[in-house]
């Protein structure tokens, strides 16, 4: 007997967005079906892996996460290039940890100079991620937008309270922005609308649903992302059709489950492998829920997830 598989009816499409300058462009989004449902639609681009580069604060990283970058840890530009040439990073995500007012509190000028240095040094698009401190991000990300003029870098996170000022700078200097909302589809939609009203072009906006890792509430972002995709693709809600970025690795590696050693807790097995799997599995689950850009850290986690995504991306018969 011939089984008939019901097909989902799609009437929307995720916006296809070109990131980076012409020299370094990478495109994301464009799918008109659920992630990897290639039997029902087209997905012009696989999720893209952006690798993290931190400007400070790596002393809290578990040994396993630090090890691959030991030689470049104090030179963000070199670090970024190592990610690209050795580990196949398709984008770089510079985490401006040093600007945190609760930490080193480095100034905006210095941070902007660093962002420019990294942007100039690499041949892939650059994401610059602040500290989610409203006042400080406003100052820092505006300076970064100006310093990196002409690069079409991606600035984030822009939240309800700081999107106007950072967004205005992004518009002025032709940068892309990340609209960040706290795991809530309605707030996400509202912020996208506000971004549009502000004048952010449709092709310069990404969404950050706020993600967390396995064990720390991944089910919430998983379901919010699935709902965002369902609304955008099957209910043609064009305010929810932007590509999704998942800043997942820092969430994974800061958890105690990624740090505890096998000596401390033998039941938890090898710490390095566990950290890699927590990162790779968290990223995979978010990719299945609709993540278009996965911000990741460990080269082996990246290799693993790229392998699986490649296999899922084989055209359907």
């Amino acid at each position: 007997m011939a089984i008939v598989i019901p097909k989902t009816i799609y009437n929307g499409k995720v916006k296809e967005i070109k990131l980076g300058s012409d020299m370094q462009a990478v495109s994301v989004g464009g799918e008109n079906c659920f992630p990897f449902y290639l039997f029902e639609g087209a997905m012009p681009h696989k999720p893209v892996i952006a690798m993290e580069v931190w400007d400070s604060g790596t002393e809290d990283w578990p040994v396993a996460a630090l090890e691959p970058f030991k030689d470049v840890i104090s030179d963000p530009a070199a670090w970024a290039n190592k990610c690209i040439s050795e580990y196949g990073a398709e984008m770089i995500c510079l985490q401006l940890v040093s600007t945190d007012p609760n930490g080193m509190n480095r100034g905006a000028t210095e941070a902007a100079a660093l962002a420019k240095k990294v942007a100039d040094a690499i041949n892939v698009p650059l994401i610059v991620w602040g500290t989610a401190n409203i006042e400080k991000d406003t100052e820092v990300l505006r300076a970064v937008a100006e310093a990196c003029q002409g690069k079409n870098i991606i600035l984030g996170p822009l939240e309800e309270k700081d999107f106007k000022k950072i967004g205005a700078a992004a518009i002025g200097y032709h940068q892309t922005v990340i609209a960040s909302s706290p795991i809530d589809i309605n707030l996400a939609k509202q912020l996208n609308i506000l971004m549009g009203n502000l004048g952010i072009p449709e092709n310069a906006l990404l969404m950050d649903p706020t993600v967390s890792s396995i064990g720390y509430g991944i089910e919430y972002c998983y379901s919010v992302m699935e709902r965002i995709r369902a609304a955008g693709l099957t209910q043609s809600d064009d305010k929810l059709q932007y590509p999704l970025i998942c800043n997942i690795s820092k969430e994974t590696w800061k958890a105690k489950e990624a740090k505890v050693t096998e000596q401390e807790d033998p039941l938890m097995g090898d710490a390095k492998k566990r950290g890699i799997l927590l990162e790779a599995m968290s990223a995979l689950i978010l990719a299945l829920a609709g993540g278009n850009i996965l911000v990741m850290r460990h080269p082996e986690a990246i290799k693993l997830i790229k392998g699986i995504l490649d296999e899922l991306y084989v055209p359907s018969k």
């Binding site: 007997m1 011939a2 089984i3 008939v4 598989i5 019901p6 990897f36 449902y37 039997f39 809290d60 609760n102 930490g103 396995i214 064990g215 720390y216 509430g217 991944i218 089910e219 919430y220 998983y222 379901s223 699935e226 709902r227 369902a230 800061k254 958890a255 105690k256 489950e257 096998e262 033998p266 039941l267 938890m268 097995g269 090898d270 710490a271 492998k273 566990r274 890699i276 799997l277 927590l278 790779a280 599995m281 995979l284 689950i285 299945l288 082996e300 693993l304 997830i305 392998g307 699986i308 296999e311 899922l312 084989v314 359907s316």
Partner: protein, 448 residues
């Protein structure tokens, strides 16, 4: 699709007798549709209607149990494609592969891992539940010996795997009382294996080359009265497994009865790399597998899988809660700080994680807020001075510390005045709003 309340109402007697405990037939129909009532509560409904309703209300994916006793596992019974539509019902069973050609020591070690890899999380016990025993030797005696060994050393649920009907028959005979899953009925042996499953009263897996063939096999088994079936789509590539799992779920939810059964995925047969295998298993857990067979259990892969499973199978409408009480983090003493938070499990995890990150030993008081986060609980009146104060007094923290300083979450700052009134011996300190800022806060905290 399940019947709507109105459709059910049409089949009811419409007498509004109230004997079911609900005043009207319409109200009863609505409760039936919502799964909140049992049709048997109606004393006058006809047998014919009962049959019609039970057929229509049967879950689209057959729920069934493998194994017996404490570690029996319930699979199937799923009703949605996406967990936000309702919830995922029965968490994916995880099985460890053990074959009858493995060295004695290896078998022992595997049973040991199966029995002892147990994790406690938010008061829940996370552990794998199944062993997949495979007859690789081609010898009845070796397979039966393995079954007997596992059976006596573990109360896990069993899957018996062989392509040889005689070996499988002997295996089932050795452990029928444990209700193992028989693997598998194929186009070549469906009649024999079907008879075996029916006689032993055990669930049986079917394996086919494609979904059409599988539907034919399940129909064949259903016709001889077998209800408890598990599907192996036969796929062993990541791509095909992903598609088949989605296809089977979609077809089943559209009431294609031939595919309305839980599925099994053999991650162990899909790669030689244990890391990749773990990632494939995580994919299968997210995308609908009812059982995943792994080549081995190692804590570093098993733990993330168990937690992923817990997360995705959590009911989106019922947040997990942590038990109310005092949690000691990092070996605190009488001069250590005392922090207060709500009992939403996620809040607890994040706050306790950040306290650990601070490397400052501390007491964490977790107040029962019915699983709500600090802000929501505060807004709902479940995290306010009137209820926090009695908890602080009764919980016993005063026996453990010399100072009387209580750090409350920044989001509950407006309760500090009320708390100082209710707890006159205490000094209330307002901590950070975000857990991420706890380490910086604690590093500068002083008891005096």
């Amino acid at each position: 699709m399940p019947l709507t309340g109105i459709e059910i109402f049409k089949l009811l007697p419409k007498t509004n007798c109230g004997k079911c405990g609900v005043p009207t037939c319409l109200a009863f129909a609505m409760q039936l549709a919502a799964g909140k009532a049992d049709l048997n509560a109606c004393p006058t409904v006809s047998e014919e209607t009962k049959a019609k309703l039970s057929e229509a209300s049967a879950p689209p994916i057959r729920p069934l149990t493998i194994g017996t006793g404490n570690r029996a596992i319930k699979v199937g019974g799923e009703t949605v494609l996406f967990r936000h539509e309702k919830r995922f019902e029965n968490p994916t069973g995880l099985a460890i592969l053990i074959t009858d050609t493995m060295a004695e020591s290896d078998v022992e070690a595997r049973i040991n891992r199966l029995n002892n890899l147990i994790y406690d999380r938010v008061g829940l016990t996370l552990r794998p539940e199944m062993a997949a025993l495979r007859a690789d030797s081609g010898k009845v005696e070796s397979f039966v010996a393995l079954i007997n060994k596992v059976k006596t050393q573990s109360d896990c649920s069993l899957i018996l795997i062989s392509q040889d009907a005689d070996i499988l028959t002997a295996g089932v005979k050795a452990c029928a009382e444990r209700k193992p899953l028989i693997y598998a009925a194929t186009a070549a042996n469906a009649a024999t294996i079907g008879a075996l499953a029916r006689e032993a009263g055990c669930p049986v897996a079917v394996k086919g080359a494609n979904l059409d063939e599988i539907a034919g096999l399940t129909d064949q088994l259903t016709k001889i009265g077998i209800k408890d079936i598990v599907i192996d789509s036969g796929a062993r590539s990541v791509k095909q497994v992903f598609e088949d799992q989605i296809f089977i779920r979609k077809a089943a939810l559209a009431k294609t009865r031939s595919l309305g059964f839980p599925t099994i995925v053999f991650a162990c047969d899909m790669t030689q790399d244990p890391m990749k295998e773990a990632l494939i298993a995580s994919l299968a857990i997210a995308k609908y597998a009812a059982i995943v067979v792994l080549s081995d259990f190692q804590g570093h892969a098993l733990f993330p899988l168990l937690v992923e499973r817990l997360n995705l199978y959590t009911d989106p409408q019922k947040p997990l809660a942590t038990k109310e009480g005092i949690y000691e983090i990092g070996g605190p003493n009488e001069n250590s700080p005392v922090l207060l938070t709500s009992n939403f499990s996620l809040t607890y995890f994040i706050v306790s994680g950040e306290i650990e990150n601070s490397k400052v030993p501390a007491y964490l008081l977790v107040k029962d807020t019915e699983g709500l986060s600090v802000m929501t609980a505060w807004a709902a009146g479940k995290f306010v001075a009137d209820v926090i104060a009695p908890f602080v007094k009764k919980c016993g923290i005063t026996d453990k510390i010399k100072h009387r300083k209580l750090i409350i979450p920044g989001y509950a700052a407006s309760e500090s005045g009320g708390l100082e009134e209710e707890l006159p011996d205490w000094k209330i300190e307002v901590g950070p709003r975000e857990a991420a800022h706890i380490p910086a806060y604690l590093k500068t905290w002083k008891a005096q």
